[in-house]
């Protein structure tokens, strides 16, 4: 099991007769031994290029990649000691599901009996024990994806790379398989990088998440930290479902209070003691301020955010409430059931400890919950 270090890596594609594309810009990322890291971003953010560079399917334009202190970015893929599950499954069509999973083990020095037990255990974990004798073309997409995942995980490798590993899984199985896979990676102390555009998957599996956008690493932190302390407006609004509410705001600080005006009639006022003096200091020099409030932090109460209910949608284990406040839609989520008729008046409140303050000009975070970012 190994430690991966990506230092100052660039990836520049130079298509013929087209402008070069700078897909990954000066990426620095380290993954500890046994850690599960997710590369999260929308399509074109550079996450897949990064994964392909680690796997060796793509040259590194600049910088280096080391695994356990050994530079691997110049080695061919087969010499890197890396196992990978592909988004498109890439199972070998002439082999059965079982042989596909066992494929990489065949060339290892493991005794045949041991190989068989491993394949069987892996198949049990992924709920494909019953289809080991079938061929890839005769099973569903979800089953193929699980087989592809099994083929990667069954190997002994220094590093496991999983490209959108659960995108096609049957919704009913997803939660339980996430749990099993996470338990498996933990038990076997697998150093893992998974690439995904689905933050639910990243949150569920990863110890740390690297959020990428435009080829640049935006933030690298634990799932909890990403939510509580987003580094900028991009990660703030990108991570979290439903997305964070963002308001442009004007701030007025007196000796007793700090007030944020977010509309003609709407203003959030807190005692000054809710904010550290550094935050108040920093706010005084900000020209354009943006306030971010997560839907879960908005509670039905006395205000000050008041408006008409647009929608009140109960989903079984949570309620999504949207109200219109001075032409803007504000979303609040509660774990309990709330029944409000569309059109009725509703007031939401939020405590100072749930406010995220951003400099709207460059997007950088200023403060989270009254403390400097």
């Amino acid at each position: 099991m190994a430690e991966l270090v990506i230092s100052n890596v660039d990836k520049i594609y130079r298509p013929r007769r087209k402008k070069p594309v700078h897909a990954v810009k000066d990426l620095n990322l380290s993954v500890n031994s046994g850690e599960i890291v997710a590369l999260l971003g929308s399509s074109g953010c550079g996450k897949t290029s990064t994964l392909r560079m680690i796997a060796g399917f793509e040259d590194v334009s600049n910088g280096s990649i080391t695994l356990d202190g050994k530079a691997i970015h110049t080695l061919p893929p087969s010499k890197r000691g890396v196992a990978m599950a592909f988004e498109a499954y890439s199972l070998y069509p002439p082999l059965t599901i079982g042989d596909n999973i066992a494929f990489a083990l065949k060339s290892s020095s493991l005794p045949t009996v041991e190989q068989q037990t491993r394949v069987k255990a892996m198949a049990e974990m992924l709920d494909i024990g019953g289809i080991l004798n079938r061929y890839p073309s005769s099973v569903s997409g979800g089953q193929q994806q699980r087989a592809s995942l099994g083929r990667a995980l069954v190997r002994d490798a220094g590093l496991y790379l999983l490209d959108e590993p659960m995108g096609q899984l049957e919704p009913q199985l997803r939660a339980i398989l996430r749990g099993r896979i996470k338990a498996y990676l933990r038990q076997h102390n697998c150093t893992t990088i998974l690439v995904t555009h689905d933050q639910t998957e990243a949150n569920a599996l990863a110890d740390r998440i690297a959020v990428m956008e435009g080829g640049i690493l935006q933030q690298y932190a634990t799932p909890a930290d990403l939510k509580a302390r987003p580094a900028n407006l991009f990660t703030g609004t990108f991570v979290g479902e439903p997305p964070m509410n963002v308001f442009p705001a004007e701030v007025t600080a007196t000796t007793k209070s700090v007030a944020f005006r977010i509309g003609e009639r709407t203003s959030l006022t807190y005692p000054r003691s809710d904010f550290s003096s550094e935050v108040v200091q920093a706010l005084s020099s900000i020209k354009k301020l943006a306030i971010g409030i997560r839907p879960y932090a908005l509670h039905v109460g006395k205000g000050p955010i008041a408006g008409q209910v647009v929608a009140c949608q109960w989903l079984g284990d949570q309620t999504h409430v949207a109200i219109e406040v001075e032409g803007r839609t504000v979303v609040s989520v509660a774990h309990e059931r709330i029944k409000e008729k569309p059109g009725s008046s509703l007031a939401l409140e939020v405590s100072a400890s749930d406010l995220h303050l951003f400099d709207a000009e460059n997007g950088n975070a200023i403060a989270h919950g009254g403390q400097l970012a």
Binding site: Y13, R14, P15, R16, D59
Partner: protein, 285 residues
Amino acid sequence: MDHTSPLEKLIRAALLAIVIIFFMFPIAWIVLMSFQTNESILRIPPSLIFTPTIENYVALITGEMRTAAGSLKLDFMRNLWNSVLLSSASVAVSLLLGVPAAYAFARFKFRLGEDIAFTLLSFRFAPPLLVLLPLSLYFKTLGLTNTYIGLIWVYQLICLPLILWIVRGYFEDLSPDIEHAHRIAGYNWFQTFWKIAIPLALPGIAAAGLLAFIFAWNNFVFALVLASADKQPVTVGALAFVTASGIQYGQIAAAIIFSIIPTFVLAMFAQRYLVEGLSLGAVKG
């Protein structure tokens, strides 16, 4: 991986050059021939140095062919006109019949539909001569021998299957949802066919029409059997250059140049259309 070595570039260029020479040589040779007299063409050894003459072209346009044995009347311009008329009329008729048929085959499942479509295609399998013998007898009885209508009719054997099968593929590639959406928006099936299906398949229709035109233009054997001199297209008309006193190579070359021009111009024009047709996929979503 995106770097190419100089050696690679060199080899690539050389290979390309070989391919170009291989394919362009006959055409270049014919262009050269068309500017030479028969004597200079038949010179041994052949030489690239000669005095260019437009005599061949003049002969074709005036219809006056001077050979060693004297002057001969020929009506090549008439042949050219016949070719244009026969080919365009045939393609027009084929489009008129073939496009709606292609739409029907693509969109509606009806009894024997596949069989009919295949039968139409199978016309292309049989050697034309096999069909021609009985056909010429019928044509004589019907009085269709040596008429434009008769020839255009027979040319449907060439054009119709081609248009039907190509255009059908294009219609099948169009999402039926787009047509359904148009129906539901309040239009009847004919309006939908006319306003949605036709415009969206237009690149395919153009490509099929062009191909059919070229096939019709290049046809030889139908016209040879079923038409006499005044209705013959260029392909058959060129036989006139094989005279008693020898073969008029220079004039044949000029005639070839003349007969290539229409299809060449059409292809150049339609190229843009064909490329647009290929990007149709981007439209579907």
